[in-house]
């Protein structure tokens, strides 16, 4: 496999043999180690000194199911630290099957010039000037590029938010239907792409190169066993296909952990209108699609296609986090408006979570009434237009809070929290505060371990034991993000036997002995590297804490505040 080094300053795209130290890495491990070694931690993230790295997971392109995950890494202009954000769709699989291990984009195009990168094979890649595409929304852009280059191309791109280098700008990537609806949403990496003058990466989907495996049969046997477990599991085999990730709305609301009206409440009284069950019913009645396949190699099909009452496409895929950020978080129970906001974020190239929470902070500060969906839509439209208020929303909740002098900003390192209130699920308090990434939920999703009903062993509303479970899960997830397995196919590795299959695949691909210790070491190495980078970037212990509101304001209905102390937060990775 090869590295593709793209120098935006010199406008060159050159192939390179994979440096030995990266040969056995993929996904987050590769992006974070490369950024750590090649980017100065004090670099300005929106200059040519930053590098933007795209790396398929270590298992991407193999026969393993649900393994088309692309990690995107850089120094984040939002958090000021290192960032990895990953995305599904077709790009990771396509790159891996062309024999591309990573694309490293460095430098900066002069005078605001714009290019797209066209990768046709592992010998043919070029930068194509495209000033005329600057400012174009992602759906129109994808259509244009598919029209020019053919529809058998995976497109990974930015929209107007990335063009304006706004801090909530996402990188969007096409799904199996060719729609730019999958997002590497977090950390403002779309702004980094925009700052480089790179509008899109187009990857040919016809690559057939086998991903090198040290022991082909052993890998395939373990991959088959893994797939069997994913299918057999009730959640990934039955519930997700029928209801999608939106099925989380009701249980998280029942746990009092569904942040509502800028996290003033933990339950949304109109949850029935925006639940997974309600959405699946509307989709079915209107002739949309549930059980939709969003990503290459997927056997879970958690995606959906939401349509209007007349059956016209609105968005894909309407997911739990967005239903929260554009629903309960802004007090909005209008499912059509939520779907429209989801589409707009994809089209403009925005992180739905950072954007929804930015709206929530603005509403909380008195800019508009909670529940005003029309205002929310108009504000998100304004992001594309580049009005003053639009730019503010596009720069996320921290920027909005500063503007209105409002301190109820549920964010860590300026990145919004996700759809689990840290007061009602205190394990998430630790994850939000201590991950090197800002308030990410996927960095250490400990909801199941917090709720007894999910088989959890700790009390969700107590601080006891939370540091330990978050730490262990963060180490585990850093490894999962490196091999590139979709979160919703993790049922395949939940059991001892299941994780054994993953170790076997690691060993069969790399040719090395691989077990529990190596897995933990992989995750720990990634986290150590990221924490080290952040330290050199100037982030201090203060940057690894939750905002005061979570310690001061009891969250109804259970009226609880975060009990994990600041000292406990600081101890999380003390001896990593």
């Amino acid at each position: 496999m090869k590295f593709l080094r793209v120098d935006m300053t010199a406008q060159t795209a050159e192939w390179q043999d994979v440096p030995q130290e990266y040969e056995k890495l993929g996904g987050r491990a590769l992006t974070s180690l490369l950024v750590d070694s090649e980017v100065s931690a004090t670099a300005d993230p929106l200059t040519g000194d930053n590098k933007l790295v795209f790396a398929p997971g270590y298992f991407s392109g193999t026969t393993l199911v649900n393994s088309s995950r692309l990690s995107v890494g850089a120094k984040s202009p939002l958090t000021g630290g290192i960032k990895e954000s990953n995305v599904g769709g077709t790009v990771a699989y396509s790159l891996a099957r062309l024999g591309v291990k990573a694309v490293v984009v460095e430098g900066q195009a002069a005078d605001g010039k714009y290019f797209y990168l066209n990768i046709e094979s592992d010998t043919a890649a070029s930068l194509v000037p495209c000033d005329q595409l600057k400012g174009m929304r992602t759906y129109a852009l994808t259509q244009t590029l598919h029209g020019e280059l053919g529809t058998d191309k995976s497109v990974t791109c930015i929209g107007p938010a990335g063009d304006q280098q706004l801090l909530s700008a996402s990188i969007q990537s096409t799904d199996l239907d060719g729609r730019p609806c999958r997002a590497a949403g977090r950390g403002g990496l779309g702004a980094v792409m925009g700052s480089k003058g790179l509008k899109a990466i187009v990857v040919d989907r016809n690559g057939k190169k086998p991903v090198p495996l040290a022991d082909d049969k052993r890998f395939k046997d373990a991959a088959r066993a893994y797939a069997k477990d994913v299918k057999a599991d009730e959640f990934s085999g039955e519930i997700l296909p029928e209801l999608g990730t939106a099925v989380l709305v009701e249980p998280i609301n029942a746990a009092g952990a569904f942040p509502t009206r800028n996290a003033r409440q933990g339950q949304f009284e109109n949850v029935d209108k925006i639940s997974g069950e309600a959405i699946a019913k509307v989709i079915k009645e209107r002739g949309g699609k549930n059980k939709h396949k969003g990503c290459a190699q997927c056997i879970v099909d958690c995606s959906n296609e939401f349509v209007t009452a007349e059956g016209e496409f609105v968005t894909s895929s309407l997911e739990y986090e967005t239903i929260w950020s554009m629903g309960g978080m802004i007090g909005n129970d209008d499912i059509d408006a939520i779907a429209r906001l989801d589409f707009l974020c994809d089209d403009i190239g925005l992180d739905t979570m950072n954007t929804g929470v930015a709206l929530a902070v603005a509403f909380d500060a008195g800019y508009a009434e909670f529940g005003d969906a029309k205002k929310a839509i108009s504000l998100v439209e304004q992001v594309a237009e580049g009005t003053e208020m639009g730019r503010l929303i596009g720069n996320g909740p921290h920027a909005v809070g500063e503007h209105f002098n409002h301190d109820r900003v549920p964010a860590v390192k300026k990145q919004s929290m996700a759809a689990y209130d840290p007061r009602a699920i205190q394990g998430m308090a630790v994850t939000y505060a201590t991950t090197p990434m800002g308030a990410d939920h996927t960095a250490g999703w400990v909801v199941d371990q917090n709720l007894e009903a999910f088989g959890g062993t700790v009390d969700a509303r107590s601080g006891e034991g939370q540091v330990e479970i978050s730490r262990a899960t963060q180490i585990h997830m850093a490894a999962v993000d490196s091999v590139g397995i979709c979160d919703f196919a993790q049922s395949g590795l939940a059991s001892e036997e299941g994780i054994g299959n993953v170790y076997t695949m690691m060993s069969a691909k790399s040719g090395d002995v691989f077990g529990e210790a190596e897995w933990a070491e992989l995750g720990s190495t990634v986290l150590r590297t990221e924490l080290g980078f952040n330290k050199r970037a100037g982030l201090t212990e203060e940057d690894y804490q939750l905002p005061e509101m979570f310690y001061k304001e009891p969250l109804p209905p259970y009226n609880v505040v975060v009990k994990v102390t600041r000292e406990q937060m600081n101890s999380t990775f003390e001896d990593l």
């Binding site: 009730e234 039955e238 009701e250 049922s491």
Partner: protein
């Protein structure tokens, strides 16, 4: 006494009768527990992971109040 029961996720598929989308309005003995309610509607207890009664989490031996709104939910993982 009367209670209202909603089955969420894919639980309606396991209900032996016709499950109305609006949920079940049931006449049950006073003092019934959450677990007994599950048995009454022949819903296998192992399929139910979370229960809420009037919006609050409840356990198998908690009593259901008159006119209580009960939701049976499933186990989830993911992120």
């Amino acid at each position: 006494m009367k209670v209202h029961l909603r089955l969420l996720g894919t639980l309606p598929d396991y209900y032996p009768g016709d499950y109305p989308e609006t949920g079940l309005d049931l006449d049950v003995p006073a003092g019934i527990t959450v677990g007994e309610l599950a048995d009454l509607v022949q819903m296998p207890r192992e399929r139910i992971s979370i229960v809420s009664v009037n919006g609050f989490l409840a356990k198998a031996d908690d009593k259901v109040p008159e006119n209580g709104v009960v939701k049976f939910l499933q186990s989830l993982h993911g992120g």
